[in-house]
């Protein structure tokens, strides 16, 4: 084998190995973005999804002792029940956008392993309601601390 051929052969081997690694990586870790309506029309158990929607008002339940967090995500057309284990992240709440990553369970709910609260850059202008609530927080906690 000439030197040149050796280099070409080496290049081909590296190229094929890389292509295979990328292919395998993509097939194993592909996550499909879906809306609640899309998920509900064709739920496939076991496939990894990223489900994006709004946390339906009145659906959020948080059980601190067991760390069970349940809520529904909606896009206006369909609503999907979601179960998660762990503290709700910053910026997560009813009426706000959220994206959850996880799988559809045959039991008829979405099992989330990761919540990505949507961080909109639109800060609310400081207004009285939130101001009042943080003042109140200060008061109740001070009382509790005494």
């Amino acid at each position: 084998m000439t030197r040149r051929r050796k280099f070409v052969a080496g290049g081909v081997v590296i190229g094929v190995a890389l292509a295979y690694m990328i292919y395998a990586g993509v097939t194993q870790s592909a996550v499909y973005f879906v809306t609640p309506a899309e998920l509900q029309s064709a739920p496939a158990a076991g496939k990894a999804y990223r489900l994006g929607g709004m946390v339906a008002p009145g659906s959020l339940k948080w059980e601190p002792r067991t760390l069970d967090l349940t809520f529904s995500l909606t896009d206006g057309r369909a609503t999907v029940p979601v179960r998660h284990k762990g503290t709700p992240p910053d910026l997560f709440g009813e009426g706000r956008g959220a994206v959850v990553e996880g799988r559809w369970e045959p039991g008829g709910y979405f099992k989330s392993s990761l919540i990505l609260a949507k961080h909109s850059e639109e800060y609310k202008a400081p207004h009285d309601a939130t101001e009042a609530s943080s003042k109140e927080l200060l008061r109740t906690l001070r009382k509790a601390g005494q």
Partner: protein
Amino acid sequence: MIPEIGYGGLIAALALAVFGSVAAGVGARTRRSELVQSAQHAAIGVFVLVTLCFALLVYAFLTFDFSVRYVALNTNLGTPFYYRITAVWGALEGSIILWTWMLALYTMIVMLRHRQTSGDLYPWALTTMLGIVAFFLLVMTIPAPPFERLSPIPLEGRGLNPLLQDTGMITHPIALYLGFTGFTVPFAFSLAALITGRVGDEWITTTRRWTIVAWYFLSLGLLIGGWWSYHVLGWGGYWAWDPVENAAFMPWLTGTAFLHSVMIQERRRMLKLWNISLIILTFGLTLFGTFLTRSGVIASVHAFTQGSIGAFFLGFLALVVLTALTLLAWRWDRLHAQGELDSVVSRESVFLLNNVFLVAAAFTVFFGTVFPLLSEAVRGVKVSVGAPFFNQVNIPLFLALIFLMGVGPLIAWRRASADNLKRNFLAPVVIGVVAALVLRLLGIASALAVLALALTVFVAASITVDFVRATRARRRLGEAVLPAMGGLLLRHNRRYGGFVIHLGILVITLGITGSHAWSVQTETTLKRGEAAELAGYRFRFDGLSATEESNHVKVSGFFTVSNGRAGAMTLQPARKFYPQEQAPIAYVDYRLGLKEDLYLVLGDFARDGSQATVKVQVNRLVSWIWIGGLVLTLGAALAILPERRAR
């Protein structure tokens, strides 16, 4: 009035930059030095004007000039003094002005340093750099004007994103942008080499130290970004393969490849086409990164804005790539290699392999980052690949690169004989294998961790072997040990600076391996007085307190943590409530250690302080990542010193 002066200043700077760019080019072509000279004056003028505008923007922030839209959006009356300064580059417009200012600074220093020495290349480099400055000034006059007025003038601003109210945010963007903009210098000289047809190694030797400066700052920026993510974001990690992180990592990978491949050209007159392509690619990726982060095409935690700015960057990127490709095609016949590869077992081919792996890593990061766009365009479904993809594909590449790091600097040029291989590598390989066995015997189960650590030991051993041998050689000439070592470092500062940087990378590898293999975490809700355990630590919840800070209310949880060895300590993770924010922001408390970090994040809590949810992590060896950054800094400082070749 001040904003109008600022806006006028930017327009004037734009006009000057365009003039200077054209004048330098025409001057170079027609060999009229007075035109080049006036371009130089223009470069100084641009720097002075951009500095002035930047200062005016800082002034607007310090004086709460809410009539300026950008100021009103990114600060408020409660923002502390130093965060009012960092808020200047906390969002799009200000980060562009910071970028432009650094670019203008680089341009001026290049001009001052190279106007006498660099002959024909320099005026064309000036043309390129001023042209790029002009583009950024154009961005500030149309899609991202920092001095735009707001009407009616609000009484209070919206405030700086609380996550950015951290000292890491002072240094992270500065380091990162010094890195990004620094690559403009070698890029400008590579275009100059193509334009003038002098594609030898002149452009490379001229910009060698500039490239190290840029590479160092980019590395530093990435590390500080990781530190910020680790101690502010509260998810317990330092790297998430987020598109924005990837955007900065891609030029780092190709820039690292470039840093190595130029050595082949200097030594063997090969890879001319490859080197020019690599620096074009690196510069293109810095623009692409800006496009990615600023255009909102890819959803990301910190991709901030949308609007026409994306189109500007994409257009400019297309222009740059097209120009570069045209020049490459035009000079094609001059880009032949004068040397050729003699053997597969040689330093050249190890460096080549290093380049292939680095560029392959850059490609996989690129592919993974734009994959959602690709799949949507091709198959109509939105699919993303997350951290598992990046880790799976990149870990083998990085391990291979670490291995090559031990081989490359020692193996012979041209053709390594069996004797040369034995002399250089027998000891390090034996030490590496022994290390692997010892680690296994110590009970380390993860094969990946054993492999990574054994490779690290192998490389460290090969560096040590080289250093000891070189010191001995000097000792034989009659020098004492310490002067011999010092002399080596200073006389061959480029080589040993590189070695120290390699050691820094090894230390970082140790930290990454440790944190991936052995970190543990738990999340639990505790009543007051209740305790839980993790990895030998016992943590008890002792209640909550609320305090009013200058611009937020801080609710802290008190946790008494003890382990068998040391006494108890109190950690106070908190949640901060900013009035303008939609939700509280977590404030991590941690104790850093060489072996492990204890890391507490307060979650939900009962308002009466009777119970709280806490996430506890014991992160192993993470501190070594930051220590590696310090070693890297030493190495870069050494490599950057002017070369004092012994004879």
